[in-house]
Symmetry: C2
Subunit: 158 residues, 2 copies
Amino acid sequence: MLRLTKRTEYGLIALVHLAERAAEVPVGQPADVVSARAIGDIFPVPRRLLAEALKVLQASGLLESTRGARGGYRLARPAAEISLGEVVAALEGEPTLTSCAGLGAASSDGGCEVEPVCPIRSPLSRLRAGIWNLLEGVSLQALADRTVDPADLFTAAG
Amino acid sequence: MLRLTKRTEYGLIALVHLAERAAEVPVGQPADVVSARAIGDIFPVPRRLLAEALKVLQASGLLESTRGARGGYRLARPAAEISLGEVVAALEGEPTLTSCAGLGAASSDGGCEVEPVCPIRSPLSRLRAGIWNLLEGVSLQALADRTVDPADLFTAAG
DNA sequence: CGATTTAGCACTTTTATCGTGCTCATTGCC
DNA sequence: GGCAATGAGCACGATAAAAGTGCTAAATCG
């Protein structure tokens, strides 16, 4: 239904929070790690799912984790170098938009019956790319920076 | 999961087909109606769901219907004046993208618990608008016109 | 009258999301 | 060494949405 999952929302909230924390320390300095519990204390979201999202983001390489007491998470890269597209792709896979998901390849492996005569396949593939471009063009830093007018986020440069 | 429903796909296929049919008659002339059965004979989609989509589109005012034998559907307006956004909105509602769906209004009616402290609400609202703009900017005519390079559909003017 | 076709309503099956519980491995602190 | 905190891994149940099917009524053409 053209909708992000809750897990993606939770992960995004956590990432933006981590980006804000990272912005508070001098450049070059690594930020302190933040535990899933601490994030859950700030935002009223189900802790378990929040932790789930954080784990996925760690496995995707977007977050670094430290285990044990006083452990937690930290951005693996500068917030400016993490795109919204990467986050969405990590948390729910690349957007498929339609049932004939692929980007062109592997389309005929018993998949879509309509494909040989489908009049919307090609246009929707472009639409998918357009949405993807929107997501790729915005960085975590831009999302976290409250001095950026949200109206400019997805219009010109992100 | 950032995906359109099957019903939307089926409806879109039918609309593009009707747009192509309408393009075959001289301008000003009304095209013949096409029955759900006839469309289902062309595209291998579940007839029942196709009919369901057509009914919804009729109720939304995008299609005109004629009942009885030799009845069927026809575009209610020229294909150039029907946007992809209208179609999607008719078949699955305006894209919500997030659980805190609204466009700004009615946000605090017992809905999102995070809202007071949510760091992604405003940016994602803009993202929603960006996707919406993509959809609004492309007409059924552009989708149906195979002389248009699909690569240009969602980039400049639609 | 009978065949075709849209319109309307309700139901089942399937799939995905959402949420929770439990256990193990690692680390810091006393 | 022992305890508490924290991330990592696995599996399950509950809820919701989507996908698909069946049936009946109303309209229209021949």
